[in-house]
Amino acid sequence: MKPAAFDYYRPTTRREAIEQLVERGEDARIIAGGQSLMAVLNMRLSQPRVLIDISGVDELRYIERRDGYLAVGAATTQAELAEYAALADEVPLLAQMLPWIGHFQTRNRGTVCGSIAHADPSAELPLCLATLGGEVVLETKRGKPRRVTGDDFFQGILTTARRPHELITEVRFPLSKAGHRYRFQEVAMRHGDFAIVALAVDIGETEYHLGVGGVADRPVVRRIPRDVDLDDALNTLAWSLEAQDDIHASATYRRHLVREMGRRLMTEEIVQEETADVRPAR
């Protein structure tokens, strides 16, 4: 299908983008890479009055190490982040996860912040942000930028804590901690499709942070001490997610994946062999 008619605005500065957004409020939608929003517009599931295209705002195109975080600007594409040479050292979970986001043809245009703004419950980047305890930076015309943690930001299917007059200008992923290990794994119908279940884990010295995507209405993160019975903890987690049956998988199968993949990922039976022949970031 074709999108309903809208005005198109392409600002060149962050200030211009925010001013237009404040003026138009809920009539406006921000487009960056458009790899989720264009499909939504084509199917007329959203019919904004004005589209504000921030892909030409150069000051929002950056990847910077700052205050213990890797900060990614709102115009930066997933492909640009995958090509950032220090990624595997600085945020290894992101480096492992990026090849699983859509396909290289969509990563070429899709942005990191855009995927987080879209908040699809089975998307990989929201899961990564929530698991690592990252932050979303929101800016409007007045006042200091608002920083919201991944936990608070995702509120349900395609629903976030962003207010109508706020622009997501940046997301920040905590840099890897010494002695921690990070693992990611997902099951989908076809590589690059939406996850049936995606799991991300930050393995610390005393506890795991396990994130689950694709099951609940948002990414769910649990802290699991390393000295508890892992099978019990995973079973409790699997049931707490209130998995639903759909055309892709039954609720039973989703719970099975959470328990089985979770155990293998956390006990590191899954290392990188399974994806070793698909070299990341190419």
Binding site: A5, L41, R49, P99, Q105, N108, R109, D277
Partner: protein, 168 residues
């Protein structure tokens, strides 16, 4: 740049090495603009929501779904479509390999697949079969299947490697 919904904006771009321009409404998708306004009908339009990959073109050297991009977004950019591959009526090595390896039947998906393969082989000179299959996962072919396509891409990669070795 602000274009009202009922206005038409004159988009100027470099299409397959030539500067071209035509008018587009804000909501016009790049794929329709290429086909209807610029006459580049080699690009095919399939699902219109980014799943099938038939409409893949290159924008500034990167394979991109042209149904997930607006015509106004390519202002000042470089776009390459399937029409750019053959030179002076001669199919290029990738296109010939598709024919040799029976990598197409109806051909509807082929234009998009070739553009993805074109970018991929420019970046990855010695791909494994798994990498080729991963690259193809962004495309749907409903008649040939993928075996012939994988063989064609691997054959081109090998042939290009050999050519490089013969002419240092």
């Amino acid at each position: 740049m602000y274009v009202r919904l009922d206005e038409r904006y004159r988009v100027t771009l470099t299409l397959n090495g030539r500067e071209r321009s035509a008018y587009a409404e804000p909501r016009t998708q790049l794929c329709d603009f290429l086909r209807h306004s610029l006459g580049a009908t080699g690009t095919h339009v399939g699902c219109e929501h980014g799943v099938c990959g038939a409409c893949t073109v290159m924008v500034d050297g990167r394979a991109t779904r042209s149904c997930l991009m607006l015509a106004v977004q390519v202002e000042g950019r470089r776009v390459e479509t399937i029409e750019s591959l053959a030179k002076e009526g001669e199919l290029n090595d990738l296109q010939r390999a598709f024919r040799e390896h029976h990598a197409l039947q109806c051909g509807f998906c082929t234009a998009g697949i070739l553009m993805s393969c074109h970018e991929f082989l420019g970046r990855v000179t010695d791909p494994s079969e798994a990498e080729v299959r991963d690259m193809l996962s962004g495309h749907l072919c409903r008649c040939t299947g993928y075996t012939g396509i994988v063989q064609a891409v691997l054959a081109v990669a090998r042939a290009r490697q050999n050519n490089r070795q013969e002419t240092p």
